[in-house]
């Protein structure tokens, strides 16, 4: 963690001692919520500035101010010492500010160079753009084929395209928003190498927005920590360690494993004596607190029932145009165990979730629950067979936003509160109220429309409903995505408890730490196939990462 204030070959030729960006006293309110509260931020050329904070801490809003998507209520913006008002993203671009968004804005059907040229005006010279793409990719070691179709690229390569798109405009200030959420560990590593180079060689100012501690510790020169819309701490990275950062971020001591997982602090040491300290040395002191909750060792390890509750046998699904979304997948699930499905997003996990939600029929293979083959793609068949699902995108198939909390809680089994096909009002309200209390769902009552709930509470509605059906199998797809620390903790505890209660849990997640923490057994998916299976003991970040990148196939 050395300080890298080197190589100030400033692109704009301006005085290097003047900060590239100064945000002073930025305040932004949305309705009654203060997203940013008198936030100051200074970015210097040639430095990578990490912005750390939980979901909802105000990081995104602050960045939106910088790139002109949000106008602050109060506060000023200075670029290279000059006061500026950034009304829209075009203005930001003309000031040399560019952002690589968490979600890609690429056109799958177009080639790499066409995507890079998107938004260009006037006549398009394909040769020129191609050369430029090649030049940039060589300069920064972002190797890519300019003629490749974007839809066929892996997430890591797509992100390269996004980065090249940004660099082509030669920005002085580059913002990365949660850039590693779709990358394998190896790809993240590469990305940070590139960033380092961009900064060192050309004196650009880089912002890295993240909620992962190790990544910020690893890749930045200084760190600003935000909590509830305020800057709570700011320090050079070499003076920071994981524990104090976590404390600053959450506002209290962090000891629970689930929380550690949320910040990307993996318990890599658990893998039989192998030393994985390659990345972040400062993790060591946190790991002292690792085995706090050793008492909830999973029962599956001691009493391993042999009969699988659910078998997926040779399951294959083809998408439009014959793409193999699922390719000959076989998987057994036993009662009381948590099986993790790891993999970079977009490698068939969504289809697997859809399959177990009765949303997709199989082209080959079958799904057997309790010795009985379940018809795939047939409405409600999986739910009836005892497969509960917390879907990856709850708005897609998990909840109905325009219905009430009570209605959402009773979606799968309305007959529970019905007599002769008529739903009993009193029983509906009563049942819903019970579930609201049991799962501590924050809402104004059973009749509140679902859209009025926060994401974490919507997720609790899904969880409550699915567990109320007393399932044999619980499929949890990205169950903690977009939730804050408290909600993550709740969700992980619930999943663990569900397994202890004898339900087979299938945890589909792209957060490796979550999987390493919870799963007894881990399978890795890549391009619709299962490319490896590891026991909890065998698994660590490195082996998983290699499998995820497809290096075994």
């Amino acid at each position: 963690m050395t300080d890298t204030t080197t190589g100030l070959t400033g692109t704009g030729g301006s005085d290097p001692s003047v900060p590239a960006v100064e945000l002073v006293g930025i305040t932004k309110r949305f309705g009654g919520i203060v997203a940013c509260d008198q936030v100051d931020l200074t970015l210097h050329r040639g430095r990578i500035h990490g912005i750390l904070g939980e979901n909802g801490a105000g990081k995104s809003t602050l960045m939106k101010v910088l790139i002109g998507l949000v106008l602050p209520d109060v506060g000023s913006v200075r670029i290279d010492g000059w006061p500026r008002t950034i009304h829209d993203p075009l203005a930001a671009a003309s000031l040399g500010i560019a952002m690589v968004h968490q979600h890609f804005s690429l056109v799958d059907q177009l080639s790499v160079w066409e995507n890079v040229a998107l938004g260009e005006e006037g006549r398009l010279k394909s040769a020129g753009v191609r050369d430029r793409v090649v030049a940039i990719s060589q300069q920064y070691g972002l190797e890519i084929d300019p003629d490749a179709r974007v839809g066929e690229l892996t997430a890591g390569l797509r992100q390269r395209v996004e980065i090249i798109k940004c660099l082509r405009r030669d920005p002085h200030i580059l913002v990365f928003d949660e850039p590693t959420s779709v990358l394998t560990p190896e790809e993240s590593e590469q990305l940070f190498g590139t960033l380092r180079e961009v900064v060192a060689a050309e004196g650009r100012a880089v912002v890295l927005v993240s909620h992962k501690l190790d990544e910020v510790l690893h890749a930045t020169d200084e760190i600003t920590i935000m909590r509830q819309g305020r800057v709570v701490d700011h320090r050079p990275t070499h003076e920071a360690d994981a524990r104090s950062l976590a404390r600053a971020m959450v506002g209290r001591e962090v000891s629970l494993r689930s929380e550690r997982a949320a910040f990307g602090l993996a318990e890599v040491e658990e893998a039989d004596g192998e030393s994985q300290e390659s990345d972040v040395g400062s993790l060591a002191d946190i790991d002292e607190a690792t085995d706090v909750d050793a008492e909830d060792r999973r029962p599956a390890e001691t009493t391993k029932p042999d009969e699988p509750v659910m078998r997926i046998e040779g399951a294959s699904v083809r998408g439009r145009g014959g793409a193999r979304l699922l390719d000959d997948i076989s998987l057994d699930l036993r009662a009381g165990e948590i099986v993790g499905v790891a993999g970079v997003e977009g490698n068939g996990q969504r289809t697997l979730g859809d399959l177990l939600s009765s949303l997709v029929p199989l082209d080959a293979g079958r799904v057997v629950v309790n010795h009985e083959a379940v018809p795939t793609g047939s409405p409600g068949a999986m739910a009836k067979a005892g497969v509960a699902v917390i879907p990856e995108d709850r708005h897609d198939s998990g909840v109905v936003l325009d219905m009430t909390v009570a209605e959402n809680l009773l979606m799968v089994d309305p007959h529970r509160v019905a007599r002769n096909g008529v739903m009993d009002k009193a029983r509906t309200a009563e049942t819903a109220q019970q579930m609201i209390e049991e799962f501590d769902i924050g809402c104004s009552g059973p009749d509140a429309p679902l859209w009025s709930l926060s994401g974490g509470n919507q997720q609790r509605v899904v969880l409550a409903r699915e567990l109320a059906a007393e399932p044999e199998v619980l499929v949890a797809a990205q169950p903690t995505r977009g939730l804050d620390v408290g909600a993550i903790e709740y969700m992980t505890d619930r999943l663990r408890q569900t397994a202890i209660d004898g339900v087979a849990v299938l945890l589909i997640s792209s957060e490796l730490e979550e999987i390493l923490e919870l799963a007894d057994r881990i399978v890795v998916m890549s391009r619709g196939r299962i490319v490896g299976e590891l026991s909890h003991a065998e698994a660590n970040l490195e082996t998983l990462g290699m499998l995820m990148g497809g290096s075994s196939g």
Partner: protein, 363 residues
């Protein structure tokens, strides 16, 4: 927002919207050399004030309401059925066909006739259901296009005596008319305070209550709404879009068909007079669709909306007698319809924007 505030807002929106429409209408009427006040008076007189008029308005409101109820059901399932005009006409034709062949005593024949009307409309709408769930043809296209097929089919049926055409003795010198329904086979039209209207009015209002209840309280209605709001969540929860969607379309058609049969047997329309004739449907299907839109696809508000549209339609007859050109009165009527549709649209757009904002804020 509280209930009271919401109500005030609605009233204000309607008042503003109607006022703007009336102002525009007055400008148009005056500019073309007419007087606008008599037009307004005629509209009010013709719809409710003049003796015997509100009975006529109710008579028109009944089929409008029936059509709208069917529309409410299919749209709750997330389907866009815009073929009510055709479904209504086919329903009427099927009712006519079976009514004269089955015969039977009066009241029984009326029931049979209404039943076959509903069946006919359901069958016609089910063609769209079949195309939608078997071949993936969007129902918005198929229902619309089947309107024109229905018009032609009924026109064809009225050319042949073995289908719908009356025998020569009873049709006189007219072509393309069906037999006239015998007096004792008609829907009763009791006289109340000098206003007479068919008892289908009661039936329609009772059905509106039933539809509201079924949608709000039964498991079937719950699952239908689920399908309409989020088909994927519904599919996971065991709602078959094929079964529920196709039923919703069929029921929608049945209501339109029932409306057609009730128009035939209930009388009160300017032409037809207990006979099936070309153009029999007389835009009741289209207007019923508007009624459902105005009621924002809810059954109980549809009762009020149906009455308002029926009043406009019935009053238009009086406006024609003010000496203002009939084209101009058509424009006036169109403006008023538009004025009624604007507030729901405004509120809908605003609610949706708020919901989206709330959703994105909470991601």
């Amino acid at each position: 927002m509280t209930r009271g505030a919401r109500l005030t807002e609605w009233v204000a929106l309607y008042a503003l919207s109607v006022a703007v429409a009336l102002a525009l209408a007055s400008v148009i009427v005056e500019a073309t050399g007419g007087d606008w006040w008599p037009v307004v008076e005629a509209l009010v007189d013709g719809s409710i004030m003049a003796p015997g008029r509100w009975g006529g308005t109710l008579g028109i409101a009944a089929p409008l309401l029936l059509v709208a109820l069917g529309t409410v059901i299919s749209s709750k399932a997330g389907l866009i059925n815009i073929g009510q005009e055709g479904q209504l006409l086919i329903g009427a034709a099927v009712a006519v066909y079976f009514s004269f062949r089955i015969g039977g005593p009066g009241p029984l024949n009326v029931v049979v006739l209404l039943l076959f009307g509903a069946l006919g409309g359901a069958a016609w709408a089910s063609i769209s259901g079949l195309l939608r769930y078997w071949r993936g043809v969007p129902e918005v296209l198929s229902t619309l296009l089947l309107v024109f097929v229905a018009l032609q089919a009924v026109g064809y049926g009225l050319k042949w005596q073995w289908l719908l055409l009356a025998d020569e003795a009873s049709r006189g010198n007219r072509n393309l008319v069906s037999e006239q329904l015998a007096k004792d086979n008609r829907i009763p039209r009791p006289d109340i305070f000098g206003n007479e209207f068919p008892i289908t009015v009661y039936v329609a209002v009772a059905l509106a209550l039933a539809v509201a209840y079924v949608l709000a309280r039964t498991v079937w209605g719950f699952r239908l709404r689920m399908l309409g709001h989020n088909p994927r969540a519904a599919q996971r929860a065991g709602v078959s879009s094929t079964v529920y969607g196709a039923s919703a379309l069929a029921i929608g058609g049945a209501f339109a068909g029932l409306a057609g049969a009730a128009m035939f047997a209930g009388g009160g329309f300017s032409f037809g007079n207990y006979r099936l004739v070309p153009g029999f449907s007389d835009n009741i299907g289209w207007t019923g669709l508007l009624v459902a839109l105005l009621a924002r696809e809810r059954a109980l508000p549809a009762v009020v909306a149906a009455f308002v549209f029926a009043g406009l339609r019935n009053g238009a007859g009086f406006v024609n007698s003010t000496g203002v050109q009939s084209r101009i009165t058509d424009v006036v009527q169109g403006l008023l319809v538009l004025a009624l549709l604007v507030p729901p649209a405004v509120v809908f757009l605003r609610d949706r924007r708020r919901a989206r904002a709330a959703a994105t804020e909470r991601v």
